[in-house]
């Protein structure tokens, strides 16, 4: 190479590029004092840049940032945290909790097995309970209707069956909604005045 290095070529050497292209550049630097000086000056400048310290913001910087940051905890993380919070910290208490959970699971399993082996008894009992519940509910509704509209209304409902009850419920709900709407309108008009 019979010329001095171009600035781009000094950059190549500064960046530590390797390959066939840089071999003649390196050879030239070894032979040419001027280019060696240029390269050394560039290296000194890079070393100065690399030695620049990181500057520190004020001590309360992180707190100031955090006061403007909205920390949002997703529901699944909150749920996991709650579950984790229920787990005892000491290993002894954890073992005790596991033992308790195991016992509860064993009891539940035993009950389930018993239910499966006596399925007919369970179905009979459930049917009986359901029937009693229905009778109690019908009695309560009949009492309410009788006290509000008289025994004639109860007789009419019994005669029309489920359709009559449904129709009555719709009428009652509509009346309640209309009454609420009217009350609200009256209250709004009062405030305007």
């Amino acid at each position: 190479m019979n010329r001095h290095l171009l600035p781009e070529e000094i950059d190549q050497l500064l960046d530590g590029e390797v390959g066939f292209g840089t071999a003649p550049l390196k050879a030239h630097v070894r032979a040419c004092a001027e280019c060696r000086g240029e390269l050394e000056a560039a290296r000194v400048m890079v070393r100065q840049l690399e030695a620049l310290p990181h500057l520190t913001p004020s001590p309360l910087f992180a707190d100031r940032v955090m006061s403007c940051v909205q920390v949002f905890v997703p529901w699944h993380v909150a749920l996991l945290d709650t579950v984790r919070g229920l787990v005892p910290r000491s290993s002894g208490a954890r073992a005790l909790a596991w033992a308790g959970l195991g016992s509860a699971a064993a009891v539940l399993l035993a009950i389930s097995l018993w239910v499966v082996t006596r399925l007919d008894t369970v179905i009979f009992g459930a049917d009986l309970a359901l029937q009693r519940l229905r009778v109690a509910a019908v009695g309560a509704v009949s009492d309410v209707v009788a006290s509000l509209f008289g025994d004639a209304a109860v007789q009419a409902l019994r005669a029309t069956g489920a359709a009559g009850i449904l129709l009555s419920l719709v009428v009652i709900l509509l009346t309640a909604a209309l009454a609420a709407g009217a009350l609200r309108a009256v209250a709004t008009a009062g405030r305007r005045r």
């Binding site: 950059d11 400048m45 310290p53 913001p57 955090m66 403007c68 940051v69 909150a78």
Partner: protein, 199 residues
Amino acid sequence: MPLLQLSTLPDADVAALAKDGREAAFRELIRRYERPVFSLIYRMVRDREAAEDLAQETFVKVLNHIDRYRPEFKFSSWLFKIANNITIDHLRKRQLDTVSIDGSPHAATAAEAAATSLDLAARGETPLDELEARELGTAIERAIAGLRPEYRACIMLRHVEGRSYEEIAATLDLPLGTVKTYIHRARHELREALAHLKP
């Protein structure tokens, strides 16, 4: 998770914990990057108070939108990109891009340069000013101040933060060739500015 353990995790994992709403993870990200981000901004705007405000704005923006962070990219690149954008916007608004303690780099005459220069040593009216003068008063800092903001960002990401050309291009949204040109020009200008210090 204890803070001690958090400090050993890579950025992507800490960011994932921050996405889960862990305040300690937010603080860990601030702890890791408050100095690099503040340094970058401070050397760009050369005003401690403004640099703190801009660094705060950067972190608030990043942490409030942590759910938008994609782990396939480096967290620091995303952070520096936002810091750079905010700083460039600020410089545009304030038209500070040509202000230098040695006077405007575009000044044609010595008188023009003197008229646009800032004398940090003489300006020391407050402790903050004195701190600024001490922090940015070295020859290399003064030389950096004379660079265009785009050059400053590139040269600092390259040599202070040790980023590769490709990372700088991605961070600053610039073509790779432009980054190489900026760094080459910045080095050239810095060498010229520091030439008078040669023994």
